[in-house]
Structures are given as C-alpha cells and as structure tokens.
Symmetry: C2
DNA sequence: GCTCAACGAGAGCAGTGCTCTCTATTTAGT
DNA sequence: ACTAAATAGAGAGCACTGCTCTCGTTGAGC
C-alpha cells in the first residue's frame, strides 16, 4: 500500500467522523445543524471543516443521502425478511420499518421529508436514494401482479394521468398497470402522511394507541390496493 | 372615543403591518423569517419590533394562526359553496381548495405542516385553528351519516383504536362511527401527503399532470370512505 | 532534499435574535 | 394645567451563525 493512501485514509476517516458528529448533533439539537458546533466537538476550528465540505449545505446533503440509504435499508430488509408470498405481510413489514426508523431518527426524517430548507435545492445525488422506500413498497405490488396473487383494479383514469403513470411504470415497474400504480402511490403518500403526523405531534394527544392506529391505517391502504 | 384609544389603534395597525411585511418576506424569501429584515422594511430598528412581539417565535405563532384561519376559511367556504347533498362534490371541493391555498402560499403551508422549527413548540392557541381543515372534511362524513346518504363501513378495529376514535367522535362528531372516522382520517392524512409531495417537488418532474393526478387520488380516498 | 499541495488556526465580515440603556412622546391622574 | 407614568423608538452591544482569507506547518511525490 503506497504511502499516499494513508493521507487519503485519514481524510476519509475525518469525513466520516464529521458526519458522525453532525448526525449526533442532529439527534440532540434538532434540525438546525451548526457547523461551528460540530467543529468545536471535534476540537477543530470552524474553518477547518471547509477542507472537507465546501459548505454547510454539502454536509447536509451528505447526511441526507446517508439517511435515505438508512431508511431504504430498513424498509428493504423488512420487506425481504417477510414471507415473499405474503404480500400483505410484506406491506405491513415495510410500513412498520419505515415508521420505526423515523421514530428512531426524527431529526433525520425531518431532514428528508420536512419542509425544504429555504435556498436549499436537493442535488441530483439524492433522487435515487430517495426513491428506495417507495420503490420497495410498489415492488410488492409488482411481485403480486407477476405471480397472479394480486388482481389489478380497473379504475378509469383520466387519460393524461394514465399516460404519466404508464411512463413511470415502463421505467421502473414493467408490467404494472397504471391504476394499480396509482393506488400504490396512494399507499406511499399515506405512509408519509401517517409518519409525519405521528412524528410532528399532530395526533399524540388525541390518539394514545398510535402503533395500533398506524397498523389499521396501513391495513386500510392494503385493502384499497387489494392486497390479499 | 377617548383619546387613549388612538394609541391603541396605532398599535394595532403596527401589529398588522408587521405581520403583513413578515408575510411578504415569507412569500419571497422562504420560511426563515428574519426579524431584522422585517424591521428594515418598516424603516425601524430591530429592537423596536420587540415592543409588539416579545420574540421571533411569537411573531411566527401569530402568522401561523392567521395562516391556519386562511386555510380553514378556504376549505370551509369551498365545502359550504358546494351542493350540500353532493357529498363527493363537497369532498373534492374541500380538497381542491386546500391544495389551491397551499400552492398559492407555499411558505405559509410549510410553516403549518413542515418540519417543526427546532425549539419551537406550537402554543395552545394554534390547536383550534389547526383543526378546522380536518374538521371540515370529516364534517362531510358526519352529514352523510346523519341523512343516510353514507353507510358507514363495518371494519373490525383493534379495541384500543376503536376506543380512541370513539372518544374523538364523542367530542367532535357525535354519531360518527369509529370505522368511518378512521377512514375519514385516512383521507385527511392522504390530502396532507398529496399536497406536501406536490409542494416540495417530490413528483413534479415525473408527473406533469398534477391537477388531474390530485383529483384521481382524492377520488380514491372518496371511494375508500364510501362517498356516493 | 525540495517543492507543492493539503491541513489547521486565527482573524475578520456580514448577518442573526435578543437585551439593555437612553431619549422623546403620549397618556393618565390630580 | 402640571406632573408622573407608561410607551415608543434608537442605538450599542452580546453571543452566535456561515463563510472567506491569510498565515505557518506538515507531509507526500519527485
């Protein structure tokens, strides 16, 4: 191993440590990450951080990508662990995994799905990781259609909506009918809304039994989709 | 009119103007409201603002309450304008009004439904205004049950969920069965998710026909609820 | 061994929310 | 009508932020 790589390795470790400290700050102090506080925690001066991240937004972007992957991993492994033939079981497992991750990492979830930071535009690097959770969910439907366990609905969609959805399906879920894709996206939208309301304290005072409520609501969407 | 009230009137006008300028800043600069910038726009120095609002959070709270009422007004009048007997028409009108208001006031919507500002806890004054949109939506279901146009579903809810929902119904929607309330809340959650995805740019590149998509998705929820 | 890039420290800039003090004005009480 | 008190605004200042620039130091490649 050439000597040059030790500097590169130290650099990579520094980047990792900065991200780790920043993630810790997110968890304790909330979503407004202070670069200077991160630097202080590392015994560095704030300008030194700029050797590794050109700006605070770039650090945030790195954290966002990592968070998307963490959430994606959680959802995908939950789905993969469930019985492949049990579509409804997979749906519930994936939904519960997403909610569990969000409850365990509220600040990171807010980073991903909260209101966009003013002036911050999500870079292209984030769009693929961001697609993983919905891709997993709708992948369940595609599997169901493929092996005949799930009979797609026959909604009459407005032509332009059907065209848009058909294009999406052609690119990501070959063979998935547009009406079913629409219902799957409804399920994903619902999942996001459920977790957001849960996390941002919109229903905890009025609904003490939130786990059971969540399960029932995701079951409603499973019904809408037609999961057996 | 006693002379004392002219000072009070000027004060009220000042408060209104501060809120108006702040709202304008929200619309142009995004959600991170700068108190100093508002003061500059009014030809005042920043400390003078503190004669009217004890802190930046209090100014934000005032804006939030106003925004909730603006959204609530939009949704309620849309519902009230529609044919009272046409439950599905009322549902769509209310949903469309909420989305239209959000698209017209994205920064204020983000203030209401985005990730909570770190350290900012919504005061009690906001909870009643915040309930207006979902109250309107579920009020449509209550009306439907009351006049027999809407037959409630017979889902078997987990006992604790049924109890929680029954308590909510007892307080806000007497006579509304718990399973129907659950479906109505699903519709509200879905509406929030739809608008958020739409507003925060999560589906505009992939779904050009967003109006039609929105209508179809809200129709799906109307189906789930059972609106005729 | 020399050279140049990388690194960290430090100072500094413009901006933020907020507090405190000081002055002018308006209100209220006698 | 005069005085005392409440109110409004200005200004300075504190601690903090992201970010830029300059300065030595250190380490890697030739």
């Amino acid at each position: 191993m050439p000597a040059s790589s030790i500097r590169a390795r130290v650099r990579a470790e520094m980047i990792d440590e900065i991200k780790a400290v920043a993630r810790r700050h997110l968890a304790t102090d909330g979503a407004d990450l202070s670069l200077r506080a991160v630097a202080r925690d590392m015994g560095m001066v704030s300008s030194a951080i700029y050797r590794y991240f050109p700006s605070r937004d770039d650090l945030l972007t790195a954290l966002i990508i990592e968070a998307y992957h963490a959430l994606g991993d959680a959802v995908e492994t939950a789905d993969a662990t469930a019985d492949r033939a049990d579509l409804r079981g997979r749906w519930h497992a994936a939904c519960r995994a997403a909610r569990a991750w969000a409850l365990a990492h509220p600040a990171e979830y807010a980073l991903l799905y909260g209101s966009p930071v003013p002036g911050y535009a999500a870079p292209v690097d984030t769009v693929l990781p961001a697609q993983r959770p919905p891709l997993t969910l709708i992948g369940i439907l595609r599997d169901g259609v493929a092996d005949g366990r799930l009979t797609p609905p026959d909604d009459d969609l407005p032509a332009p909506v059907r065209a848009d959805l058909a294009e999406i399906a052609a690119g990501l879920f070959p063979g998935l009918p547009a009406p079913l894709l629409a219902r799957g996206m409804a399920g994903w939208t619902q999942l996001f809304g459920l977790i957001s309301f849960d996390l941002f304290g919109r229903l905890d005072p009025v609904l003490p039994h939130r786990d059971a409520y969540f399960d029932h609501q995701t079951a409603l969407m499973a019904d809408l989709i037609g999961l057996p």
